[in-house]
């Protein structure tokens, strides 16, 4: 969940009243956001630099609220959006109507021409202008922060969309969006004093902590995306850096915004979020100046697209999903609190339907179910009357596992629950086993050696448990019933689980006879008679030769003609590998055959 930091006093001022922390918590809870932390700029700096209370540092003592917002509400990623959403939710404001400035004719409209080469690296661009904006320090910082928040969230760290903002008074349209070999691009990037060629610049940024993580997006491409104005001034080298020439400042009055992208839908959402959040500070409130983007195929588009998306939703659907029965007028009022405008219409069959207008700030509304949820939120989740919807069946395998667990516990064994992920070594080499490459599921991106493979037997986990309980009085008698995973060509995903049972005895003697006794007990309670070798009606044991057990002190368990497991004295080398100093016996068998 993304977190937004806003100054408490600024927030309360914008909301038009102060709240106690409990009151604000409550408001957040009802609306579906969360006051995650209350801190100060000073405390944040201290934490970052690992400083103590008494150390003298910069920053001020203003209280900062850190608020968790839902991952699909990009409009809540800045103070402006939060305040607007909460004020409308509280019924203070009505939903703003965002409009394209209509005093700009098609002739005088700013233009962006897209060159064909961009298609190989970053094919889309959308633009807009915020005309006559009035920044102050707080607004300006919020404007920069919002870009950063969008870059980290919906833009997927600039891979899908990258935002560039420019002082329009320093550049001249028409603009071109091109893709050129790095050596042909030369400009002075933001915050630098020298000019760089793009290839050299990429080298330079390899040591830049903030920017180096974006270099991979274009680094290996023969051409880099770049935006020029009519005088060949570089606006930006997306998705890496803007040019210094067109940098915005507190004094900037007219802002040109461009979003380059590999995903056009997301680019439109990002641009809409930027312009709707800040058009409130423009001379003509909530008006945005459009830009015409022309693609190489000659098709041109006017952006941004601010007109609401209309959705048909019936009253009965809303009431059915939310579990309430409200009148149409009441529902329309609740929708208004969630920034959705609803127009009623009654169809021939007397069914009341709403035409719901979804504003450009609410890109999260995809389906009527989202509308129904908004009604439920505005109504209050906790006011919905509770109902109980108008059969006993556990999975036989799990029920059977529980029965077996009880039986083994009755024999004096303690149940353990160990991890399914283990290291490659533990699953093979430490058990004296060789990997035949056709057994274990291997993880492609392990974070550490502890999570390299999915266990293909329970033995390693149970040995590790014994090893970690050296101080426990002997004998140690433990068992586990759980799943292992092995490769399986017959399954759609190529792997399958098996339900296994493993038990361990560790004491002054190996306890081989006790483990053998446990095997006999399991057979007894599953109603399996002991039979002579080769007889398929019961079970018998036969000499085995598994590397994890001591030779000559181990046997396979043959159940109805099928080998289901092995028991024996654990090989001294294996005990040493797991750092166990006392002798152990172990049985491991598959219990699915008993079903």
């Amino acid at each position: 969940m993304p977190t937004v930091s806003v100054g408490r006093d600024l927030l309360f001022q914008a909301l038009g009243r102060t709240y106690t922390q409990d009151e604000f918590d409550e408001l957040c809870f009802e609306f579906g956001i969360e006051l995650d932390d209350v801190t100060t700029e000073k405390a944040i700096i201290r934490k970052e630099k690992h400083l103590k209370e008494e150390d003298e540092i910069g920053g001020n003592e203003e209280i900062i609220y850190k608020i968790d917002v839902p991952a699909n509400r990009y409009d809540l990623l800045c103070l402006e959006g939060l305040v607007q959403a909460l004020r409308i939710f509280l019924g203070i404001d009505s939903v703003p109507k965002y409009k394209l400035a209509d005093d700009v004719g098609k002739e005088s409209m700013l233009k962006m021409h897209v060159k064909p080469e961009t298609s190989v690296i970053r094919p889309f661009v959308v633009c807009a202008v915020l005309r006559g904006i009035e920044f102050n320090e707080a607004r300006y910082n919020s404007f920069i922060d919002l870009q950063d928040k969008l870059h980290q969230n919906i833009c997927r760290r600039r891979t899908l969309v990258a935002i560039g903002t420019h002082d329009l008074d320093t550049i001249d349209g028409p603009f071109t969006y091109e893709a050129l070999p790095p050596s042909e691009i030369e400009f002075k990037p933001l915050k630098q004093v020298e000019t760089f060629k793009a290839d050299k610049l990429m080298e330079f940024y390899k040591s830049d902590l903030k920017l180096k993580k974006y270099l991979h997006i274009i680094e290996d491409s023969p051409v880099y995306p770049v935006i020029y104005d009519r005088n060949r001034t570089v606006l930006s080298l997306p998705p890496i850096i803007n040019g210094a020439h067109s940098a915005i400042s507190l004094k900037t009055k007219n802002v040109f915004i461009e979003c380059t992208a590999t995903d056009l839908t997301k680019a439109k959402i990002v641009l809409n979020t930027m312009v709707t959040m800040f058009s409130g500070y423009c001379k003509q409130k909530f008006k945005v100046e459009p830009v015409e983007v022309t693609y190489p195929d000659g098709k041109s588009y006017i952006c941004p697209e601010l007109s609401p998306y209309d959705m048909k939703v019936s009253l009965s659907y809303i009431n059915r999903i939310a579990g309430i029965s409200l009148e149409a007028n009441k529902v329309a009022g609740l929708l208004n609190k969630m920034q959705l405008h609803a127009e009623q219409s009654v169809s021939e069959d007397n069914e009341c339907t709403f035409i719901v207008s979804v504003p450009p700030t609410r890109s999260d509304v995809l389906h009527a179910c989202d509308v129904a949820e908004d009604v439920a939120i505005a109504y209050g989740f906790n006011k919905i009357p509770k109902r109980m919807p108008a059969s006993l069946k556990p999975l036989p395998l799990n029920q059977f596992s529980d029965l077996i667990r009880t039986e083994i516990a009755l024999c004096g064994y303690t149940e353990v629950l160990t991890w399914i992920l283990c290291s490659y070594k533990e699953n093979f080499a430490m058990l004296n086993r060789k990997d035949d490459k056709s057994t274990a599921v291997v993880i492609g991106n392990p974070r550490s050696a502890d999570f390299e493979v999915v266990r293909s037997s329970l033995m390693a986990g149970i040995l590790k448990t014994a090893a970690h309980n050296k101080d426990h009085p002997k004998p140690i008698k433990i068992f586990e019933v759980g799943d292992v995973t092995v490769l399986d060509e017959l399954k759609d995903v190529g792997a399958t689980n098996h339900r296994q049972l493993a038990a361990l005895y560790c004491g002054a003697t190996s306890g081989f006879e006790l483990i053998h006794g446990l095997v006999d007990r399991i057979m007894e309670v599953t109603g399996t008679p002991f039979v002579s070798a080769g007889d398929n009606t019961g079970y018998y044991i036969e000499r085995s030769d598994e590397p994890e057990f001591l030779s000559g002190r181990q046997a396979s368990i043959i159940y109805k003609g099928k080998r289901i497991g092995t028991f024996g004295i654990v090989h001294p080398q294996v005990l040493e590998n797991f750092d166990i100093s006392d002798p152990c016996s172990v049985v491991e068998l598959n219990i699915e055959s008993f079903l």
Binding site: K266, Y309, K386, L395, V416, F451, K464, T496
Partner: protein, 261 residues
């Protein structure tokens, strides 16, 4: 036990390896969603991809992601089959729920109550409260005309059997449920509200491509097994509860579990 008393049927969750398709795509979770990043999910080197998927259903899922349908706008991006084919260790048991509901949709409709309690995997940094694997408890009810009121009613019943009778619900966001509610329970010992689970109604974009009838809704909820257990027994390190580093004496001396009595 509690699920059984409430008349639920257990889902077969004995498959840790799952394809991205059933774990994410079938749940209408877009392919660029952060949860699908390698630093949240364990992807597999072997077996790296799934061999088969139900082709006609895959086509419907692709469509709903790309351009919507069934009254939805969709996400408007190029859906890639290669992403869906990637195998992983399931990140939630909802992957099994999606398979179960798909199977249910192939037959004449019948109301169902399902539950599961099993292991799930997240490629997360390990600390005192987080492990790379944990258990998820999941319950779902599939029937005609279910509402948020039904979901709240069932949750009250479920959690009161666990000894938590004061609940309240917070609006939340999940890619595959809408409406979504986080469940908070009042902890009498700690004297505060603690988050105890997540819930919601599966999105039509998930259910309709499966072929379930329009008026069928599915209410579902999930919670981790470890978190409430740690709160219940006052354990502050998850490794003391689960894994090979547990103290055997602690297991032996722990009182019997009386929840549900």
């Amino acid at each position: 036990m509690i699920f059984l008393q409430m008349g639920f049927e257990e889902m077969p969750t004995n498959n840790y390896v799952e394809s991205s398709f059933w774990n994410f795509d079938a749940l209408f979770q877009p392919q660029q969603h952060p949860a699908r990043d390698s630093h949240d999910t364990f992807f597999l080197r072997d077996p790296s991809t799934t061999k088969t998927l139900p082709e006609d259903y895959v086509e419907r899922v692709k469509q709903i992601h790309e351009s919507g349908g069934h009254g939805s706008r969709g996400y408007g991006y190029d859906w890639k089959r290669e992403e869906a084919n990637k195998n992983l260790l399931r990140t939630h048991t909802t992957a099994v729920s999606s398979r179960m509901l798909y199977a249910l949709a192939k037959k004449p409709f019948e109301a169902k109550r399902y539950y599961s309690i099993d292991r799930v995997f997240r490629n997360e940094a390990v600390d005192r409260t987080h492990l790379a694997e944990f258990h998820q408890i999941e319950g779902l009810i599939c029937d005609r005309g279910l509402s948020l009121g039904d979901l709240q009613g069932v949750l009250h019943d479920f959690f009161s059997r666990l000894g938590m009778s004061k609940l309240r619900f917070k609006p939340a966001y999940n890619p595959y449920t809408e409406p979504s509610m986080e469940i908070f329970g009042y902890h009498e010992g700690l004297k505060k509200w603690v988050e105890v689970g997540n819930s919601g109604m599966f999105r039509p974009e998930m259910l309709l491509p499966m072929g379930l009838p329009e008026d069928v809704t599915v209410i579902a909820w999930g919670l981790s097994l470890e978190r409430p257990t740690m709160i219940l027994y006052g354990i502050d390190n998850i490794r003391d509860l689960f894994g090979h580093k547990v103290d055997l004496s602690l297991i032996k001396s722990n009182p019997i579990c009386r929840i549900g009595l």
